[in-house]
Structure formats: structure tokens, C-alpha cells
């Protein structure tokens, strides 16, 4: 219909609306017919949707390999007001198709995993009706994310941006009656939404500025006009990019708005994997990459972005060292890795940032899903223990058993073999061990950082050290050693529907790095069509040539060697602490035994890390609490007590009552009724008087006739005059 207006160069470009509409169809089918479907059917529909989107994305990628410049496929005219023309158009270029492939590919795998995960979950945690709701939200998320990445203008991007924020909120609070005090999950969802909103405020201000100065939101128009506007009013582009940075810190969980991501672990594990590791949080990185044309015009903004990314990376990595919840470790790890990506795109290394985005999607999703498998293994063990009277005695259950606490795990290597191997692969990929995926992507970022922004290079390198350390810590605490609780000893492996996607992701983590090997640079060439890096490449090329170790077609051997060596050292250190030291710790009596060997070494520093630098408490004290106090004051004192009770009730209602009393009693009842009744009464009295005319005497009647005659004749006589 509308697509006929497109003079497409051929290929499968016209299929692009389907990437959004397949998930929409999936969610509609599940909403309308889901209550009649079996679980398998719901799962099948829900998995087919992103699967078909993935197929379309592959076709688009193939089409792009023939026409790499990309096309814009207009779909329909959304807003057409005055100067503002906003069509809903799909942009098919290498950058957006990269995102589409990642989102739909990883998304499909996670959907398949979720079929198995939610099946177990609704039996342990809630009622089976939730199955349908989960997959409706999941498909909605895919649709919104696809909308975000395929948008042709900033406003459509924002629609997708808001959509994924909404789905995040819905899915974090999926078990809305659970959590601390019965509403903890709902509060976590609310926190995510509000924090994201602050970021969105930044995005909105940036888009207002954009409209004011560019009179359009379309990428093409903005990027074309950007240099002239920058020349005319340089502060504007800086402001725009800084406000966009605020949006990025919200959506991609950077300093200072990262606080929602750890709390978002309250949602089910597939949610954490899909939304808070692989896709939604990368939307910020995508935004900066897409807006490269604006950022390259304001180097100061670029510096800010890079610093924010770098500091966040280090900050979050240190917190991850002190966490005991398996998912919280991964959450802070995600924040840290996002810091890597943001720093990369901030510095101008767009390809490196996007490459890390892709590989990170693989191994972080793998890690989250595997952790979900571990948690469910423990829950199955717990279930088995509860139902076996013998084992029950050995269960030390003074308090509620937390299947996510790593202090309750241990020795799972033997009981959950598949999960162990895939987790190990994911962890090594994250730590940056050659030749897994994370090594290549992280190394490219570090290499670029070295000659673009050395301060950031140091921040990121130290963060990489901590990354390897906490992953080693996690692997050893969870999988090695002796089981530290009875359910761990009885843990069971997950079913095939869950482990198969894990294996696929593990393969991708193993070989994903080959997307952008030195000399071959597949990915760089692919992205170059969208993000022309001639200037950046030339500039970096000159500087790079001056830097030692720059050889091997883009691979800096010194940097690679340093990061790889640091990772190995970190793993060795973690091995030392958590194997040897733990064994020594076990010899101590139970009440003197610390729960983590690092406490002995770092002491109070460890406590600070465990409490995540008390950032949440700081925010609460400085921002949230005063706000709550003020709003409570306004609500209770000003609104209820004064406005409502006094002004409304007394003055308005009282006045109104008084007025109506006045109108009713003296005016209506006495006066008007008096008139009405008086009329009746007067008529009655008049009638009583007039009645006397009917005397009954015929002679009187005759007299009245005679009077009439006389009067008439008198009138006629007077007329004669």
C-alpha cells in the first residue's frame, strides 16, 4: 500500500515493517486467544514472533550486503502539522540492522529459554495465568525495541524508547505481590520507571532543542544541517548532546542514574537477560552511535560521555566484587560493561562500542540465563529436600532460604554439568580471555582508548581487572568447593528447553569475536556505510601509527597483552582467595567464620563495597526523602487540611449550603410558596365570597339579568351622545 511509493533498489527491504509487526501479531494473538491456549501454544506463538523477526532481519542483512548504503522505507504519515512532517518510516542501514539482528536473535533464544523457565516458575511462585501475561509483555518489548532501532527520526526513536521503558516496568514488577513487605517488586519497577523518566526528560529537552533549531526530527535532515547550526550557535549542539547524555545515563544505567538496574533484578531471570543485559540498556549506546554526526561536532561533549562511561565502568566493577546475590553481581557487571560501551562511543570509537554491544549481548544473556538455571536448580533441590523427611533434618532453615545467595551454593559443577560449562564459557568471555568474544571487543575499546583518551584507558583497564576478579570469584563460589547448603547438594539440572538456548549462546560467545578480526575487519566495514569514519579513521590512524605496538592491522599487541595478562592475574587472585583461603576459613569455628575471605583482607572496604557505597541511601536522603516530605506536606497540610477541609468544606460547601438554605427557606418556602399558596388561598376566599351570589333565589338571578340590560342600554345611550 504505502510501500508502493518506495523506489526500492530491490532486495527484501520492503519487508522491514514486519520486524515490528510480527511481535505485535504475537502479542495480540496471545492477549485475545491466550486464555484458551495451552502453555505450549502460548510459548510457541511467543517464540515464533521474534523468530520470524529474526528471519526478516537476516533477509534485510542480505539485502544490505547488496546495497550497503541502506534505504528508508516510509510506512505512513504520522504527524503533519505546519512545518513539522513526521512520517513513520523504517530505516534500514547497517547500524539498525545490526541492532535488529541482535535483538531478535538473542531475543528468540531467550524466549525459548523463558518457555521452560516460566513453566517452572509459575509452579513455584505464582498462578499459571501469569504465563500468558509474561509472554504478552515479552513480545511487546520486542516490538517496542524494534521500533526504536528501526526509527528514521528521533521522535519515533523516542516512541520505542518509552515503549521499552514501559515493558521494563511491567516485567520488573511481574510478581507484583512479592518482594520486600509484599510490594518490593512493584517498588523496584517504579524506581526503574522514574529513574528512566529523568533520563527521558533529558532526551525530551534535546529533542525540543532539535526541533527549535533544525525544524525537523529526521536523522537525515538533522545530520545534514548539523554543521551549519554548529557554526551559527555552537552552544546548542553541545546542549543537545549533553541532554541526550542524560537520557543515555538513564536508559543505559550510567552514573548517576544507574540505581534502578540492580533493583530490576527483582524481575524474572529471562527479563533480566533480555532487557537489562542484551537489549534495552543498549539503547543508549545505540542512540549515541546513531547521533555520531552531532557528537563529532562537539569534542567537549564527547569527553563528558567518555568520562561518564569510564567512571561508571570502574565504579560498578568494584561494587560487583562485594555482592553475594548471583544476579546482583551480574547486574553491576552489566553496568560496568555498559560503561565500557558508552566510553567507547563517547570517545569516537563507534565501531568498537557497537562490537562490544554485540558480544556483550551474547555472553551477558548467557550468564543471566545460566544463573537462572542455577537458581532454579537450587529451587528444585530445595523442593526435593522439603519433601524428603530424612533430608529435612539437615536443612538449616532458621530463616527463609534464598536460592539466589551465592553463600548457599557451591559444588554445583558436578550436579549441573551443562550449566557449569556454559557459565564458564560466559564468564571467561566476559573476563576477556583469548580467543573468546569478549577479548576481541574489549581489546578494541582499550586500544582506541589508549590513543583517544588515555585517562579513560586507565579507568577501563582497572575495571577490566576487577571484572575478571569478580567473575572468577563467582564461578568458584557457585560451582567449586563443597555445597554450603542442603538444597545445593540436591540441586538438579534444568530441562533441555532451557539448556539448549544456553548452548547456542555459548557457541556465539566462543566464536562471536570473529566478527571483527584484525585485518579482516568485517564489522568495521559493515558499519562504515552508516558511520563514515574517514575523518575519525584518518585521525586515529595518524595517532595510532605513532603509538607503540600498533601493528597487526588494528590490533595493538601491547594493549592486548596487558589486558589479557591482567585478566589471568585477576582470575589467579580470585582462585587464591576463594579456594585456599576458604578452606582455611572452614577450620575456624562457625561463629567466627566470615562469609567471605575478602572481609579479612579488606575489612571495612569490603563492607563499603557490599553496601554499594550507600548510593541508594544517599539518593534517598538527599533527593527522594525531601521530595516525599514536601509532597506529604503539600498533600496533607495544604491540600487536605487547608484546601479541602477548610476552604472547600467550610467556605465553598458551607457557603453553598448557606446560600441554598437562604434560597430555600425564606425565599422559596416562605415567599414563593407563599405566593403560590396565597394564590390558591385567595382564589378560594374569592370563590367563597363570590359563591354568595348563588343565593338560590330566582329573583336575584332575574335581577342580575335586569342589571345587565340596564347597563347595556346605558352604554348604548352614552354612545348616542
Amino acid at each position: 500500500m504505502f510501500l508502493s511509493e518506495v523506489t526500492s533498489p530491490g532486495g527484501f527491504f520492503y519487508l522491514v515493517p514486519l520486524v515490528v509487526f510480527f511481535p505485535v501479531a504475537g502479542l495480540l494473538i496471545n492477549i485475545i486467544l491466550g486464555s484458551k491456549f495451552s502453555e505450549k501454544m502460548i510459548g510457541l506463538v511467543a517464540c515464533l514472533a521474534p523468530g520470524l523477526s529474526f528471519a526478516v532481519s537476516v533477509l534485510l542483512a542480505i539485502s544490505l550486503s547488496w546495497y550497503p548504503e541502506g534505504v528508508t522505507i516510509p510506512f505512513l504519515d504520522w504527524i503533519s502539522v505546519g512545518e513539522l512532517e513526521l512520517p513513520w518510516a523504517f530505516r534500514v542501514d547497517t547500524l539498525s540492522v545490526t541492532m535488529m539482528l541482535v535483538v531478535s536473535g538473542v531475543g528468540t533464544l531467550i524466549h525459548i529459554y523463558a518457555v521452560g523457565y516460566m513453566h517452572e516458575d509459575v509452579r513455584h511462585n505464582g498462578d499459571p495465568k501469569r504465563y500468558q501475561r509474561f509472554f504478552v509483555y515479552f513480545n511487546l518489548f520486542i516490538a517496542a525495541m524494534m521500533l526504536l532501532v528501526s526509527a528514521d527520526n528521533y521522535l519515533m526513536l523516542f516512541v520505542g524508547w518509552e515503549g521499552v521503558g514501559l515493558c521494563s516496568y511491567l516485567l520488573i514488577g511481574f510478581w507484583y505481590e512479592k518482594g520486600k513487605d509484599g510490594i518490593g517488586n512493584a517498588i523496584a519497577g517504579k524506581k526503574a520507571f522514574i529513574t528512566n523518566r529523568i533520563g527521558d526528560f533529558g532526551f525530551l529537552i534535546a529533542s525540543f532543542l532539535m526541533f527549535w533549531y533544525f525544524k525537523s526530527f529526521s536523522f537525515d535532515v538533522v545530520f545534514e544541517k548539523a554543521p551549519e547550526v554548529a557554526a551559527a550557535a555552537p552552544g546548542v549542539i553541545f546542549a543537545m548532546t549533553m541532554f541526550m547524555l542524560l537520557g543515555v545515563t538513564g536508559k543505559s544505567a550510567q552514573l548517576p542514574l544507574f540505581v534502578w538496574l540492580p533493583d530490576a533484578m527483582a524481575g524474572p531471570t529471562p527479563v533480566s537477560a533480555l532487557i537489562h543485559a542484551a537489549t534495552m540498556v543498549t539503547a543508549g549506546v545505540y542512540l549515541v552511535a546513531r547521533s555520531y554526526a552531532l557528537y563529532v561536532l562537539v569534542p567537549e561533549a564527547q569527553t563528558w560521555v567518555a568520562i561518564v562511561g569510564g567512571v561508571t565502568a570502574l565504579f560498578a566493577a568494584t561494587i560487583a566484587v562485594g555482592q553475594f546475590d548471583i544476579k546482583k553481581v551480574l547486574a553491576y557487571s552489566t553496568i560496568s560493561q555498559l560503561g565500557f560501551m558508552v566510553a567507547a562511543v563517547g570517545m569516537g570509537a563507534f565501531v568498537a562500542g557497537m562490537f562490544h554491544l554485540v558480544t556483550h549481548a551474547f555472553f551477558k544473556a548467557l550468564l543471566f540465563l545460566s544463573s537462572g538455571s542455577v537458581i532454579q536448580g537450587l529451587e528444585r533441590g530445595h523442593h526435593a529436600v522439603e519433601h524428603d523427611p530424612l533430608l529435612r533434618k539437615r536443612l538449616k532453615s532458621e530463616h527463609h532460604f534464598d536460592p539466589q545467595d551465592m553463600r548457599n551454593m557451591g559444588g554445583l559443577r558436578n550436579r549441573m554439568k551443562t550449566t557449569f560449562w556454559v557459565y564458564l564459557i560466559g564468564a571467561l568471555a566476559l573476563a576477556g580471555i583469548f580467543p573468546l568474544a569478549g577479548f576481541w571487543s574489549k581489546d578494541e575499546i582499550l586500544a582506541e582508548a589508549l590513543h583517544l583518551n588515555p585517562a579513560v584507558y586507565w579507568l577501563l583497564t582497572i575495571a577490566a581487572f576487577f571484572t575478571a576478579f569478580y567473575m572468577g570469584r563467582q564461578i568458584i563460589m557457585v560451582f567449586f568447593g563443597e555445597p554450603k547448603s542442603e538444597p545445593a547438594a540436591q540441586a538438579q539440572e534444568s530441562p533441555a528447553v532451557m539448556t539448549t538456548p544456553l548452548i547456542v549462546l555459548a557457541v556465539l560467545s566462543l566464536f562471536g569475536g570473529f566478527l571483527n578480526l584484525p585485518f579482516i575487519h568485517t564489522f568495521t566495514n559493515w558499519l562504515e556505510h552508516t558511520i563514515p569514519l574517514e575523518e575519525a579513521v584518518e585521525a586515529t590512524g595518524e595517532v595510532a601509527a605513532a603509538t607503540p605496538g600498533y601493528m597487526f592491522g588494528g590490533l595493538n599487541l601491547i594493549v592486548a597483552g596487558v589486558s589479557f595478562g591482567l585478566a589471568l592475574i585477576a582470575i589467579a587472585v580470585s582462585w587464591y582467595f576463594y579456594t585456599r583461603r576458604t578452606a582455611e576459613m572452614q577450620k575456624l569455628p562457625a561463629n567466627k567464620r566470615p562469609d567471605d575471605p575478602l572481609r579479612g583482607v579488606l575489612g571495612p572496604v569490603f563492607t563499603v563495597l557490599e553496601n554499594k557505597y550507600w548510593v541508594d541511601e544517599l539518593y534517598w536522603a538527599v533527593i527522594v526523602n525531601p521530595y516525599v516530605v514536601i509532597s506529604r506536606f503539600l498533600a496533607e497540610k495544604v491540600d487536605w487540611a487547608f484546601w479541602h477541609d477548610f476552604f472547600h468544606d467550610k467556605i465553598i460547601v458551607g457557603g453553598y449550603n448557606g446560600l441554598t438554605w437562604l434560597l430555600s427557606k425564606p425565599i422559596d418556602t416562605s415567599f414563593i410558596d407563599g405566593i403560590a399558596n396565597g394564590l390558591g388561598q385567595g382564589t378560594q376566599e374569592l370563590a367563597a365570597t363570590m359563591r354568595k351570589m348563588q343565593s338560590g333565589f330566582v329573583r336575584n338571578y332575574a335581577l342580575s339579568v335586569f342589571i345587565g340590560v340596564v347597563v347595556i342600554i346605558g352604554y348604548l345611550v352614552l354612545q348616542l351622545r
Binding site: 343565593s695 333565589f697 329573583r699 336575584n700 335581577l703 335586569f706 342589571i707 340590560v709 340596564v710 342600554i713 346605558g714 345611550v717 348616542l720
Partner: protein
């Protein structure tokens, strides 16, 4: 001319006096007889006005039949005297005043028209007012009213009988 005036006024006097007599007499029979005298004087007036047929009809129908009927009923009911008490005190004065007003009005009209009415002609056909003339008009121009009047008389007869017959039937049914 003067004979006519004398004749007129004396007859008029008789007429008015008899009317007043009827008005004031306490005895109903006397009132009836006064009325007869009035009718007789009016009959003479008719004769003076060249209406012989009407004059004789006046005497025979009014004085002869109607007044006789009156006297029959007066005798039948024994209603010669009525009580002297007046139920409505104010009726009489008001009526008298009204009568005087009306008289004044009529007098005013007549006096103001005094000079405007031309006198009638003295010559008149002999056959004016004769029974033949009356009959011709009655049976040609006024035939329809004539016939209807006959119906009217029939109705009156039936009515009179019906009004007085009902009583006797109830008496018989009671037996």
C-alpha cells in the same frame, strides 16, 4: 288631532294604572283581573293602530284564554294570598332604582330623538291589518314559522300533560 291625543292619553292612563294595580295588589285574583283590564286597553290601542285582527286576537287569546287559565290555576292552588315576609330585603329598593334608571334612559332616548323621526302618514289602505291581509302574509311569506308554531303548540300540550301526569303514575305504583 287633539281627539287622538285625548284618546291616547286616557287609554294610556288606564293601561298604566291597571298595570300598577297588578303590580301592587296582594290578592292574586285581583292582579289577574287588573291584567285583564290592561289587556283590554291594549286591544283598543291595537284598533287605533289599524290592526283589527290583532286586537280581536288579543282579546280572545290573551284575555280570554290565557288569563282564564291563570285564574284556573290560582283557584286550584288556593294561592290568593302570600305571606308578607320578605326574604331578601334589598331586592325591592334595588329593583325600583333600576327601574327608574331604565326609565330615565328610555326617556332620554326618546327625547333626544324627538325631532328626528318624521311623523307617520295619516292615509292608509283600508285593507291594512284586515284578517285577509294577515292571512295572505301568514300563508305565503311566513308559512314555515306558521307550521313550526303548530308543532310548538303540540309540544306544549304534551309537555303540560307530561309534567302533571308523572305524579299519578308513582301513586299507582306505590299501591
Amino acid at each position: 288631532m287633539t281627539t287622538q291625543y285625548i284618546l291616547f292619553f286616557s287609554l294610556a292612563l288606564i293601561s298604566v294604572v291597571s298595570a300598577l294595580g297588578m303590580l301592587f295588589s296582594r290578592n292574586a285574583v285581583y292582579a289577574a283581573l287588573y291584567l285583564v283590564m290592561n289587556f283590554a286597553s291594549v286591544a283598543v290601542f291595537f284598533l287605533l293602530l289599524n290592526a283589527p285582527f290583532i286586537a280581536i286576537a288579543q282579546v280572545s287569546v290573551y284575555a280570554g284564554a290565557i288569563m282564564v287559565l291563570f285564574l284556573f290555576v290560582i283557584m286550584l292552588l288556593g294561592a290568593e294570598q302570600t305571606g308578607p315576609q320578605q326574604a331578601i330585603v334589598w331586592q325591592r329598593p334595588v329593583a325600583v332604582i333600576l327601574g327608574l334608571i331604565l326609565a330615565a334612559e328610555v326617556g332620554y332616548i326618546l327625547l333626544s330623538q324627538f325631532g328626528f323621526i318624521p311623523p307617520g302618514s295619516a292615509e292608509i289602505a283600508d285593507s291594512f291589518g284586515s284578517p285577509a291581509t294577515v292571512g295572505v302574509d301568514l300563508f305565503t311569506s311566513y308559512l314555515l314559522p306558521f307550521e313550526i308554531t303548530s308543532v310548538l303548540l303540540l309540544v306544549a300540550i304534551v309537555g303540560a300533560i307530561v309534567l302533571t301526569k308523572v305524579e299519578r303514575n308513582t301513586d299507582q305504583e306505590r299501591k
